[in-house]
């Protein structure tokens, strides 16, 4: 487990934040776990907090602050996958779509999506 440092690793678009506020009203506090692999993989999965059990093989990338919500939403990824993602900054966005997995937004006709950019040299050094 690598603790979150001062550099922001993950952020939200306003549309994703707005959706998270709505989903929290339905499902209670939420969490993210970034998936890998096929079909609906390589996409962030959003669950009621605690529904997905985190373990020693997960990295906590950061907490996402959503306007209107008391508690920030944790964003996690498996440590092995993080090895290949560590040089990029992630932004959780939302697009129209269908599913999937057990992520809570699917019935709303939308899907969370990760947009990525490379860390700047300064950010990377400060990680």
């Amino acid at each position: 487990m690598e603790p979150a440092t001062g550099v922001e690793r993950v952020a939200l678009t306003p549309a994703a934040a707005e959706l998270l506020a709505r989903l929290t009203a339905i499902h209670g506090p939420l969490m993210f776990h970034q998936s890998g692999g096929c079909c609906d993989g390589s996409a962030p999965m959003c669950y009621p907090e605690g529904d997905f059990r985190l373990g020693g093989q997960d990295v906590h990338l950061g907490d996402l602050t959503v306007p209107g919500l008391e508690k920030p939403i944790g964003f996690h990824m498996s440590a092995s996958q993080y090895e290949y993602w560590r040089h990029t900054h992630l932004t959780v966005d939302v697009v129209k779509g269908r599913g999937s997995g057990f992520s809570v937004e699917a019935p709303e006709g939308v899907r969370f999506l990760i947009r990525s950019r490379l860390f700047t040299d300064e950010e990377y050094a400060a990680r």
Binding site: G37, S42, Y47, F52, T88, S100, R111
Partner: protein, 507 residues
């Protein structure tokens, strides 16, 4: 060439109903909460039917039906079960065109593939397990002169199966055929992206299985998949999908102490050694085709050869010709039999692929061809089309490490055998791989050294029944497509029998 009429037009070979309910206990029943969701075709983006939005109440009802049916079904003779699977296969075969066009319309894939691969493979798969079941034997162990251990195969009972959207019918049959052959009753949840085509097939065969043996509950993962996967009324769960949901399903299964089989994807290396180009002959042509296989099924295959590794001696020339081969892939209307690549299965899938093309460019990978959406005009403008894309880069880039699930290949160079194996194995996954060489020893060694469950040697994307398919590493647990899959759906009953007249001698 031929262009099939769109479903909904009067001359189409298939017509979808305006609405599909759940199939529970041998009949179609409305969802408990009365809700339905729209089902669009990725070919045009237009909704063509609506489908029951299942919830835990519907899952429970399906489990009731399955539990009612399982004991009798599990005691039918293997001859009877095999005969039913063969009848299903025959019925599907005599309606092949109809089902294939329904599948294309549902998923967006080219009908050339559904007509020649998806549905014929599904038919063969049913027949394979009908045959495998007949040939299966238990074991007898003679412990001593008077003691014999008999091993019987018994069904698990009621099992849950969660199906992906990339081959909606074929993946359903991959899971159903062994489960039904082994004598289990099934509750199956199709993917919410592709919920309708399985019902087109089911309506044609629903009279063949006893009521309750096969139950289909549609709906979203969180609303219908979760109550199924976490139920304490299933004796096994099978899932094809991705790693986080795979872990979640394993967590549920651990609460109920039931087995789980998982197929979770890959990032499959396609390795071309120098000697491939020793001659410019039919084999060389085959290897170039092998490179272009990344675009098959729009790249929406767990074993998509999405990393091409080419040896230094032939790198420039082979890659140039491979790009040319890629550019000859004909993209078009999926119901046109000349079309080689159709639409991505959903809008979010389409957006995800574009986001990966974006990060690939940012990381400095070079786009050799493609790299953008494709607007095919007319009614297809509302559909989800991506140009076949070839990136050149290195294996640490994210486009080399993450399953994009689109028609995107990332190409890197290697210098010698050891480097080829190192790069090929530098991935979290181990589902598919291929090695291309004219040298049998090189191909054999590489095939053994690559950590993947399926290594194609001098071919790619063949999925015959009787060849085991499944993952190493984070690609999953268990195998499909082979008679060993019967074991995944069976208990072993051991009768330990003493034929001695005498006391055992303890008391």
């Amino acid at each position: 060439m031929a262009k099939y009429a769109n479903p909904g037009q009067p001359d189409s070979v298939v017509s979808f109903k305006p609405r599909y309910d759940h199939f529970i206990g041998g009949e179609y029943v409305a969802p408990a909460k009365g809700q339905y969701f729209e089902n669009p075709t990725p070919i045009t983006g237009q909704t063509f039917t609506e489908v029951a939005r299942g919830t835990s109440e519907d899952v429970e009802k399906a489990l009731d039906a399955a539990h009612a049916a399982a004991p009798a079904w599990g005691k039918t003779s293997v001859a009877e079960r095999a005969a039913i699977l063969n009848k299903i296969a025959d019925r599907v075969e005599s309606n092949l065109e109809l089902i294939a066009i329904a599948e294309s319309w549902e998923n967006g894939k080219a009908c050339r593939e559904t007509l020649a691969a998806d549905i014929p493979l599904a038919i063969d798969h049913l027949r394979y397990f009908a045959g495998a079941l007949r040939a299966q034997e238990g074991g007898i162990s003679q412990i001593d002169e008077d003691t014999v251990a008999y091993h019987f195969h018994e069904p698990l009972g009621v099992v849950g199966q969660i199906i992906p959207w990339n081959f909606p019918i074929l993946m359903a049959i991959w899971k159903l055929a062994p489960a039904l052959a082994a004598g289990n009753a099934v509750v199956l949840k199709p993917a919410e992206q592709t919920p309708a085509s399985i019902h087109v097939l089911n309506e044609l065969v629903q009279d063949l299985l006893p009521p309750g043996v096969l139950n289909i509950v549609n709906g979203f993962g969180v609303e219908a998949g979760k109550p199924l996967a976490s139920s304490n009324r299933i004796r096994k769960i099978a899932f094809t999908g991705e790693t986080t949901t795979g872990r979640l399903i394993s967590q549920y299964a651990s609460e109920n102490l039931i087995p789980v089989t998982l197929e979770l994807g890959g990032k499959s290396p396609n390795v071309f050694f120098d000697d491939v180009a020793a001659q410019n002959d039919a084999f060389y042509d085959k290897a170039l085709e092998g490179f272009a296989m990344f675009a098959l099924n729009q790249g929406e295959v767990c074993t998509c050869p999405s990393r091409a590794l080419i040896q230094g001696g032939i790198y420039e020339e082979f890659l140039q010709q491979a790009v040319k081969r890629t550019e000859q892939i004909k993209q078009g209307h999926p119901l046109d039999t000349d079309t080689m690549i159709g639409a991505q299965a959903s809008n979010d899938q389409f957006e995800k692929i574009l986001s990966y093309i974006d990060i690939g460019r940012q990381e400095g990978a070079k786009v050799l061809t493609g790299g953008d959406r494709a607007d095919l005009g007319g009614e297809l403008s509302g559909g989800y089309y991506i140009q076949p894309t070839v990136f050149e880069g290195h294996n640490a880039m994210r486009i080399f490490q993450e399953e994009i699930f689109g028609p995107v290949v990332s190409v890197a160079r290697f210098s010698d055998y050891d480097e080829a194996i190192t790069i090929a194995n530098d991935t979290l996954y181990g589902l598919g791989a291929a090695v291309w060489s004219r040298d049998g020893n090189t191909a054999y060694r590489a095939g053994r050294d690559i950590q993947a469950g399926r290594v194609w040697v001098n071919n790619y994307h063949a999925y015959p029944a009787h060849a085991a398919f499944g993952g190493y590493k984070q690609s999953g647990i268990g195998r499909e497509n082979h008679k060993m899959m019967l074991d995944h759906y069976q208990q072993t009953k051991n009768l330990l029998v003493s034929y001695s007249q005498n006391a055992q001698g303890f008391f």
